[in-house]
């Protein structure tokens, strides 16, 4: 063996250290030049190699974008997941609701262990697991005229995943005033609608399409009308697609044409694209002489509740209503046989669960009888104007309409509405009936 002098060994050690230092300098120089971490390159590779995204350039647009999602429900859940997966840099979530068991058939970003948790918090946790590169901000508040601007101002794009006309007008109005593009969708039953509003502050807004709000009694919620999970989920997924296209600049002022997509899940799945009107000169918000300005909104001058109206459910006096407790103690428990219980829910609701002694006459059919006791007798043979009649529905709204009809048109004297309906009865008096 050749003797190596200590001097040479020391020299070698120095050279090794020098080499390692240079290497690490080189490496950090390399990744300093990279606009994303190597991890991110790997993660987004499969979408960057789709040519239309413009590769790294498109990916950086996503990374630098701030997207606000209003509502983490049926539409928001899939939209949030796909936007997070795609690598949107900052995602804000506005929702003050908590996860309920009855949400989970469609709001599949949440899960059974999250019941009771704020939806925005549940969504944040799930997104962090899916993609730690996304910065998530949560706003557990109900969006209203006083907080909307301060929340919106931190973002570039808004997704309207809300569920009432009031918030839809508010989201659009605030976005127009801040020059933000809105990706807007809605759904009910097995159908959904989607459009892009105020595109680059030149496209039509929600008010251009709907200058007059719908009458309040024509508006159905998912809670009332029901909704098929994958149908609303598809529409939420389409919102994510549209958002990516807006950010990638696939839509431009030159090629963008206002549209409304309409998805139907049943009986055959169809997707139609309707060509829509452009921005309206006489629009109160985005037109030539706008009245719905930031100042007007923030001062509360634009009264959204008055504009959209609300359903008047106080159709019965206190004397015409009984509590579920009274119905239990004075009728059910006493085995009170001579009252007639009419359940006015739709038949498919009634079939899910009902009192055995109830007679089902949907409120619509009752209306159709036009006050004829003879027609009513076909369903309720022993009914007369002196009968003791109790009316029930799901939540105690339709039953008030029915109580009015039975008293005013059928001239039955003793009719009582059960306050809060069947569900309140189940909640407070008897948990053994299924709620849905």
């Amino acid at each position: 063996m050749v003797e190596v002098s200590a001097e040479v060994l020391a020299e070698l050690e120095l050279l090794k250290k020098e080499n390692a230092k240079l290497r690490s300098q080189l490496d950090s120089q390399k990744s300093d030049k990279l606009p994303m971490s190597l991890q991110e390159f790997q993660r987004y590779g499969r979408q960057m190699i789709v040519e239309e995204t413009s590769g790294i350039e498109g990916q950086l647009k996503l990374k630098n974008s701030k997207v606000l999602v209003i509502g983490a429900g049926g539409l928001g859940c899939p939209a949030l997941l796909y936007l997070a997966g795609a690598g949107i840099g900052t995602i804000g979530i506005v929702d003050n609701d908590t996860v309920d068991n009855s949400n989970l058939h469609r709001q599949v970003l949440h899960d059974s262990s999250k019941v009771g948790m704020l939806k925005c918090e549940s969504a944040r946790q799930r997104i962090n697991l899916l993609n730690p590169h996304v910065n998530v901000k949560t706003y557990p508040v109900r969006l209203d005229y006083s907080n909307a601007f301060t929340i919106f101002e931190n973002y570039d794009y808004v997704l309207d995943c809300t569920d009432t006309p009031i918030t839809r007008y508010l989201v659009s109005d605030v976005a127009v005033n801040l020059g933000m593009t809105v990706i807007s969708a809605s759904g009910l039953g097995s159908e959904g609608q989607l459009s892009i509003l105020n595109f680059k502050n030149e496209g039509p807004c929600y008010r251009c399409f709907y200058p007059t709000p719908p009458p309040p009694n024509s508006v159905s919620s998912c809670q009332e009308g029901g909704v098929i999970g994958p149908c609303i989920g598809l529409v939420g997924t389409m919102m994510a697609v549209e958002t990516l296209k807006v950010i990638y600049d696939i839509y431009t002022l030159e090629n963008f044409k206002p549209f409304l997509m309409m998805y139907s899940g049943f009986p055959n799945q169809t997707l139609r694209t309707f060509k829509m009107r452009g921005r309206q000169n006489n629009c109160e918000c985005c037109g030539l002489d706008p009245k719905i300005t930031r100042a007007a909104i923030e001062s509360g001058l634009v009264n959204y509740f008055e504009f959209c109206g609300s359903r008047n459910y106080n159709l019965c006096t206190d004397e015409e209503r009984i509590s579920s407790e009274i119905y239990k103690t004075e009728f059910i428990d006493c085995n009170e046989k001579d009252h007639i219980l009419i359940d006015v829910r739709p038949r498919h609701h009634f079939n899910i669960s009902h009192f055995n002694h109830a007679i089902n006459i949907p409120v619509k059919e009752l209306k159709g009888m036009k006050g004829s006791l003879d027609i009513l007798k076909e369903s309720v043979p022993n009914v007369s104007q002196d009968s003791k009649v109790i009316v029930l529905c799901r939540y105690g709204n339709d039953s008030q309409i029915a109580t009015r009809l039975l008293k005013d048109e059928f001239k039955i004297n003793d009719v009582k509405d059960v306050k809060g309906g069947f569900f309140k009865y189940i909640d407070e008096e008897d948990h053994s009936y299924p709620k849905y």
Partner: protein, 103 residues
């Protein structure tokens, strides 16, 4: 005389016996030549197709299609096509769809 298809979407079929698509042959004043407009079609729907008169208000408001219902002529917003004045042609598809609000 004109042959058209009428569609009721977004839950509006509820007041048309749950039937979404209807084929219609329309005539004005019993004449084969007089043009039939979308306004005439709306009158026809209200008079002949809505079975339960209580349901008229679901479709009509202040003499025109209710707020919250979009009217489309061959998949185009009727606002771009002359609204009620549009003269129907054979094969036209007129769609009425309720605006959905759920999310």
């Amino acid at each position: 005389m004109v042959n058209v298809k009428v569609e009721f979407l977004g839950g509006l079929d509820a007041i048309f016996k749950k039937q979404r698509v209807h084929k219609l042959t329309l005539k004005k004043n019993n004449s084969d030549d007089e043009p039939v407009t979308v306004g005439d079609l709306i009158d026809y729907i209200v008079e002949n197709m809505i079975e339960d008169k209580n349901d008229v208000e679901v479709f009509l408001q202040n003499g025109t299609v209710r707020a919250g219902i979009l009217t489309l002529i061959n998949d185009t917003d009727w606002e771009l096509e002359g609204e009620k004045e549009y003269e129907l042609e054979d094969g036209d598809i007129i769609s009425f769809t309720s605006t959905l609000h759920g999310g």
